[in-house]
């Protein structure tokens, strides 16, 4: 059982080694299968880590023979094990979908590069979640930035290159802010390990109050820009809507979450509850989260193309996470973690089905989707499950995450947050339900009569069906997951 302690660093290694050998692979088929194989092995290993953390508690792991603070250590707790499991499993499902669909959108000369960047992205996100050293986290953040921009630009057409430039410029601005914060924290404590900085920070906090304040503001701005916290979300609609389908899914579902988990790790691990209470953090996060939810929903309603609407919807769902974190209590934190899982599954499902619609019928705008439910029954059925989960209908996992966040709002006495959640559910319905309704209940335009239903290959339909089933199962029986992740909110 003790060998499971090695699994997190082994997961990181096999993702990167898989990425390194991708350029040597002989043809495109083997490259795609290698991606699926490595992601599947990592999912199994991450499930073992989750089981280990559930029975034995948090653990620390020294990467080199030197122990902290002279060497680098990984700190794996409930939050980290949960996020690593989400990253590996959703990554596996996306790569299975990619077996069929990657060749349709990306030029053939770039597919091996795409797979190498995809595996490196999954590995670096696991690294951000697992590491216990802030400079190591900065290195993994840079790998995530470059690979996340790389999987948009492999498509190699005008819109995606332009969107990539915008994303990369703002992302490197945020990385500069994060590095400056690391420099300030090192200057006043002399350590780079998260536990040791926390220990020294409680001693020197009153000698250098402005340094600590400036470092925390830079961390929030830097991570907030990368995690699309309102009002720093302006790069997201272009980047996520002009990317290939699987890239949009990975970006919306996993990359934003990895950055917000990094933010949570630094705020709770390095700064701790004492410093966080000194800043007006609760108020700021609550206003920014509410702004994201309300204004993002209004912007999503004005979009005419499906992928842009889904991208604005990602801003809204990330706003829920920041709203839940602003409550500073256990139930809210549990709601935020459950929302991480819920949004990862649901947004992946929605983006993959939008990709299917675009490939098989060529339609991109919501207006053209009349009556398409009879031509693509499986795709539109799973899209409806995902849309209902985003709205928050009972029996879906979206309802459970909103329930926990709302319950946490009541516990903290913030009725305003509860009202924002209810209003936003109505707004979500205003832009998701028209798609579902017009797909099944309206006649198609005279141009395209009812044609034969499209037959999807198994590797396209199986991941989507698995995710739709998981959404419903998590909606009906969330307790195993809730019991596991409620142990993560130890500091509240």
């Amino acid at each position: 059982m003790e060998t499971v302690r090695n699994f997190p660093v082994l997961i990181i290694y096999i993702f990167f080694i898989g990425s390194f050998i991708q350029p040597l692979v002989r043809n495109v088929r083997i490259s795609l299968l290698l991606t699926v194989a490595i992601s599947a092995v990592s999912s199994a290993a991450s499930a073992a880590v989750v089981y280990y953390v559930r029975t034995n508690g948090d653990f620390l792991f020294d990467v080199a023979p030197w122990s902290a603070p002279w060497g680098i250590e990984l700190s794996i707790g409930t939050l980290e094990a949960f996020v690593i499991a989400v990253i590996c499993s959703v990554g596996t499902l996306i790569s299975i979908y990619g077996i069929g669909m990657v060749e349709k959108e990306i030029p053939a000369r770039n597919i091996k590069i795409y797979n190498a960047l995809f595996l490196a992205l999954l590995g670096s996100m696991t690294g951000i979640a697992a590491t216990g050293d802030i400079f190591n986290m900065y290195v993994f953040i840079e790998i995530t930035s470059i690979t996340a921009c790389g999987i948009i630009s492999v498509k190699d057409d005008k819109k995606s290159i332009e969107a990539t430039v915008k994303y990369l410029v703002y992302s490197s601005l945020a990385s500069g802010c994060i590095l400056l914060a690391i420099a300030l924290l090192y200057g006043i404590t002399g350590n780079l390990n998260i536990r040791y900085i926390h220990h020294h920070l409680t001693e020197v906090m009153y000698l250098y109050p402005r340094n600590v304040l400036l470092a925390s503001c830079l961390i929030i701005v830097g991570f907030g820009l990368k995690a699309a916290m309102f009002p720093l979300h302006f790069w997201l609609p272009d980047a996520h809507s002009s990317a290939p389908t699987t890239s949009s899914a990975v970006l919306s579902a996993l990359v934003l979450k990895a950055y917000s988990v990094g933010l949570i790790k630094i705020l709770t691990g390095v700064f701790g509850i004492v410093v966080m209470s000194l800043l007006p953090l609760k108020t700021i996060l609550m206003y920014l989260g509410s702004g994201a939810v309300l204004i993002g929903s209004l912007l999503a309603m004005t979009q005419s193309r499906i992928k842009r609407m889904l991208a604005y919807s990602s801003v809204v769902q990330m706003g829920y996470i920041f709203l839940a974190l602003s409550l500073f209590n256990r139930t809210g934190f549990t709601g935020a973690l459950f929302q991480i899982l819920n949004h990862a599954l649901t947004k992946t499902l929605l983006f993959l089905s939008a990709g299917n619609i675009k490939y098989y019928t060529g339609k991109e705008s919501i207006e053209q989707l009349k009556g398409i439910g009879y031509r693509m029954p499986v795709t539109m059925a799973v899209f409806s499950v995902g849309a209902l989960s985003m709205v928050g209908l009972p029996m879906t996992s979206g309802f459970n995450s909103k329930w926990y966040i709302g319950y946490g709002a009541i516990e903290a006495g913030k009725i305003g947050v509860l009202i924002v959640i209810v209003i936003s559910s109505l707004l979500n319905a205003a832009y998701y339900l028209p798609v579902v309704v017009s797909a099944f209940f309206r006649r198609p335009s005279p141009g395209d009569e009812i044609q034969q239903p499209v037959n999807l290959p198994w590797f396209t339909s199986v991941p989507m069906i698995v995710m739709a089933v998981l959404i419903i199962v998590l909606g009906l029986y969330p307790d195993p997951v809730i019991n596991f992740i409620s142990g993560a909110a130890k500091i509240f």
Partner: protein, 94 residues
């Protein structure tokens, strides 16, 4: 008008940053918080434990080799991304 507001904003940020500098530890003083048990072990034991005469080499290749692994990965993925955008033939293969 835009230039004036931007100039004022930058001026405000400069004042904030300078007030931070006024309380930072003194430049070049041996009693800074950064010169602690961590760096003295690196200097003192690096010849014994890592065999490196240059202490910085010992740190990046032995004590913090995981960071160097990440940095090599950064170069690799940047090279792949550049090839995907610029090269006509991409990586050979079908």
């Amino acid at each position: 008008m835009k230039r004036i507001t931007v100039g004022l904003l930058l001026g405000a940020m400069l004042v904030v940053l300078l007030s931070t500098v006024s309380e930072m530890p003194q430049f070049g003083s041996p009693s800074n918080p950064t010169h602690n048990y961590v760096s003295s072990r690196y200097v003192g034991k690096s010849a014994l434990e890592t065999g490196a005469v240059n202490v910085v080499t010992g740190i990046i290749l032995d004590y913090r080799a995981f960071d160097t692994f990440g940095e090599a990965t950064v170069i690799f993925v940047a090279a792949l991304a550049v090839v995907s955008v610029l090269a006509r033939g991409g990586l050979s293969g079908d």
